[in-house]
């Protein structure tokens, strides 16, 4: 007996939904498996000594202290460069710009910047900061390169945060006689700070994990000391992981998993912080 059409349609739907569910698992399971593998195999390798000592025996033993410090210094410097320009650009786009060709050009440039491959940023950093401006392979050159890379992240998040501040805040401030800048500074910006911080933390996470832009601008293959100044080379966690996984044979697997684990914890905890901050901000918002 042939089944009625509606029953067949429901049968098809059941099969389709199961397939959709399995597809979703096909993305989520690798994510969990990757993080799980690194955590299980890397946690054992991490000790206080691993985190706080210099690498020894051609990086086959010892710790990753200079790589951790290098990455922290690099991202701090990156934020110092990227944050002011990022916020200023967002303020310009939301509070000052009118809808003309110049504004559209700025937006096009930002979209384009967010799509530039990371290794091309590396080339650019090499050409401009390392060679043309003569900074050499240094923390400064690397931080400037990374700052340009994360600029679109910070601008987009700050813009969204500024736009979510209600129009009435601005109108009231202006009606009380405040100037345009006073309004932005005291009636808009303070309420956008959590959103801007979320974007900044996401940008830091991106900068901390990237390798290609720092390959030719900062990274030292093996530098068992801390950088002296911003004009000095430095080791960095992602580059260190690349080096010990591809360039150095006969290295204990625990060294590699340990380094991968530390990098993953750093990057994921930054992302987690951003997510929590965003959620708390959304819940507490009164308007």
């Amino acid at each position: 007996m042939a089944r009625p059409a509606w029953q067949r349609a429901l049968g098809v739907q059941r099969v389709a939904f199961v397939l959709l569910f399995l597809s979703t698992l096909l993305i989520v399971i690798p994510a969990v498996a990757i993080i799980g593998t690194i955590t299980v195999r890397g946690m054992g390798a991490v000790s206080w000594e691993f985190l706080t000592t210099m690498p020894t025996k051609g990086m086959r033993a010892g710790g990753i202290f200079p790589a951790i410090v290098g990455t922290l210094e690099l991202v701090s410097l990156t934020v110092v460069f990227a944050l002011p320009i990022g916020i200023a650009t967002a303020i310009y786009l939301t509070e000052y710009a009118t809808d003309n060709w110049l504004t559209r050009l700025v937006r096009l440039a930002i979209v384009n910047l967010s799509g530039v491959p990371s290794v091309v940023y590396g080339l650019f950093g090499l050409g401009l900061f390392v060679m043309f401006l003569g900074f050499g392979t240094s923390l400064l050159a690397g931080a400037l390169t990374l700052a340009i890379m994360i600029l679109p992240v910070i601008i987009t998040a700050s813009e969204e945060a500024l736009r979510s501040v209600p129009k009435s805040f601005r109108e009231i401030s202006l009606s009380l006689g405040a100037s345009h800048w006073q309004t932005v500074r005291h009636a808009v910006l303070p309420f956008a700070i959590p959103g801007i911080m979320t974007g900044t933390i996401l940008g830091i996470g991106r900068a901390a994990g990237e390798t290609a832009p720092i390959l030719f601008t900062v990274a030292a293959f093996y530098l068992p000391r801390l950088p002296d100044s911003i004009f000095d080379q430095a080791m960095a966690l992602p580059y260190h992981l690349y080096v010990i996984s591809t360039q150095i044979p006969n290295i204990p697997a625990s060294q590699r998993y340990g380094t991968a684990f530390v990098l993953l914890v750093l990057v994921l905890s930054l992302n987690l912080a951003a997510v929590i901050l965003r959620a708390r901000f959304r819940r507490r918002r009164q308007w």
Partner: protein, 289 residues
Amino acid sequence: MWQRWRERFIEKTIAASGMFSIIVVILIFLFLLKEGLALFRTVPMTDFLGGDRWYPISEPPRFGVLPLILGSCVVTLGAIVLAVPVSIASALFISEIAAGWAKDALKTGIELLAAIPSVVLGFLGMAVLAPWIKYLFQLPTGLTALTGSIILALMAMPTIVSITEDALAAVPRGYREAALALGATRWQMMSRVLLPAARPGILAAVMLGIGRVIGETMAVMMVTGNAAVIPRSVLQPVRTMTATIAAEMGEAVRGSDHYFALFAIGIVLFAISFLLNAAADLFLHQERH
């Protein structure tokens, strides 16, 4: 008076910062051109774009970029074939079927995947995936184009899922209600109303996914085996444009033809990513009207 000057100064500073992004894009373009075009003083452009041999340090050197472009294409195509159906399906599941805590958990899982640094994925690709591929297909090496495609698919999927989700969410409620009111099942509504209506957004998602994949460097350099030959099969080692720049820039003598040739590859990459972004922007714009 002082107040007015201060205000003026701040406004000018902010406007100048706004122009910074334009200046940076122009600077990137100029520096790539300045260093990259220097190659063509000694090497004809046809030898670069049409040459099928990349032997940068042999004597005489050969700078044929074709094997690298094809390498990038093979790896990218593989990744997109793997990633697109799965990503669209899971975007449908997450935005239309999943609810409550399950939805949040799945979204978090996908966001986590997006956050993993590419060098970590590359490391696991070498340590875990490559031995599997080697064993499964009985190959001399597990570092192949396919290995690269799988790792890159993992990196493209979060991008495609989240933009597809946005596109689905932008389809008006009325479309769904009208389809259901006509007696369509939820699946019929999704496959015949929702997906066609969200098409421009989904195309944009795919474009941006391709952009992410073709520009990816570290993971692909670590798992594809880096053999600069014209690829004949997905089970052999290949070398992409990005990996070539990253692997060889360290050794290239500053100011040599090799150095300029790597910048010339950078121009090709920059042009491709510019076109992909422009296309995605066009699709997203089309959706809004």
